[in-house]
Symmetry: C2
Subunit: 152 residues, 2 copies
């Protein structure tokens, strides 16, 4: 499920307005960059695309976009945050994470497994007094380029 670009921008605009926020050029550039990537991207990558946008504005805008439900921030282990579009804009998916170089790839898993995880989440959550709203599944290992490389 990938939205058409204009659909994406229209939705982002809508959700920001709902929060009393404006869909400015800088925000548009961030959404554009996120929408054209097939994996979560780092701040450095975003700043390359969102030409001229100050880093502080990028952080602020990403926070606003996350608050509005357009963007999702994630930590995958290499201590630098990555950003992707919110799940309802990209479709539910999970991540392959390389423990050596930090690369992150999107993957989809069979609906059947998703359903099993969902059922589990509900039952485990209620046992622990949690209201479970979702889940994250990361498959961690070594990417193609890092498979051959020794560690130390």
């Amino acid at each position: 499920m990938r939205l058409a670009p204009d659909e994406l921008h229209r939705t982002a605009d809508e959700r920001l307005r709902r929060d009393g926020q404006r869909y400015t050029a800088g925000r548009r550039a961030l959404v554009q960059a996120l929408g054209s990537s097939d994996r979560p991207v780092t701040m450095a990558e975003l700043l390359d695309c969102a030409d001229g946008l100050a880093q502080s504005s990028a952080y602020r805008n990403l926070a606003v976009l996350e608050e509005a439900g357009v963007v999702h921030r994630l930590l995958t282990g290499d201590d630098t945050a990555r950003y992707e579009l919110a799940e309802d804009l990209t479709g539910h998916h999970h991540h392959l994470v390389c423990t050596r170089c930090g690369a992150v790839l999107d993957v989809e898993v069979p609906a059947e497994l998703e359903a099993a995880i969902g059922r589990l989440a509900a039952s485990i959550g209620s046992e622990a007094g949690f209201r479970v709203d979702g889940h994250r599944l990361d498959l961690v290992g070594r990417c193609g380029g890092c498979r051959a490389v020794a560690d130390a």
Copy 2:
């Protein structure tokens, strides 16, 4: 699967020695603290237990312990790392994560689901050129205390 405390310390000692490292009082205190918690703990919590240990030493020791395969460092979303014993010392498990207060709880999931995830990981990994070594599953939501609280 929870090791007896003496078994735990013996194993930690062994693994450090294998790396040419010593199992000092400070390291022992960290392992002790991790071993007596039923969930991943933050640096602040560790420093409370490991009485008098300098923060820099704690970070260094945790890195050494991770390298030796005794400790595992994880990021759950609230930007401060948490630490737990390595999986083979605690048993494979996953986490319930509260998106409001950051609380993290250990949970175990049925072997059947683990097996399904494992099979999936292998097949998805090979498709993407990854060698998948393991997986993380976080169930995210609101803990008991935060369920009632409104957001803004």
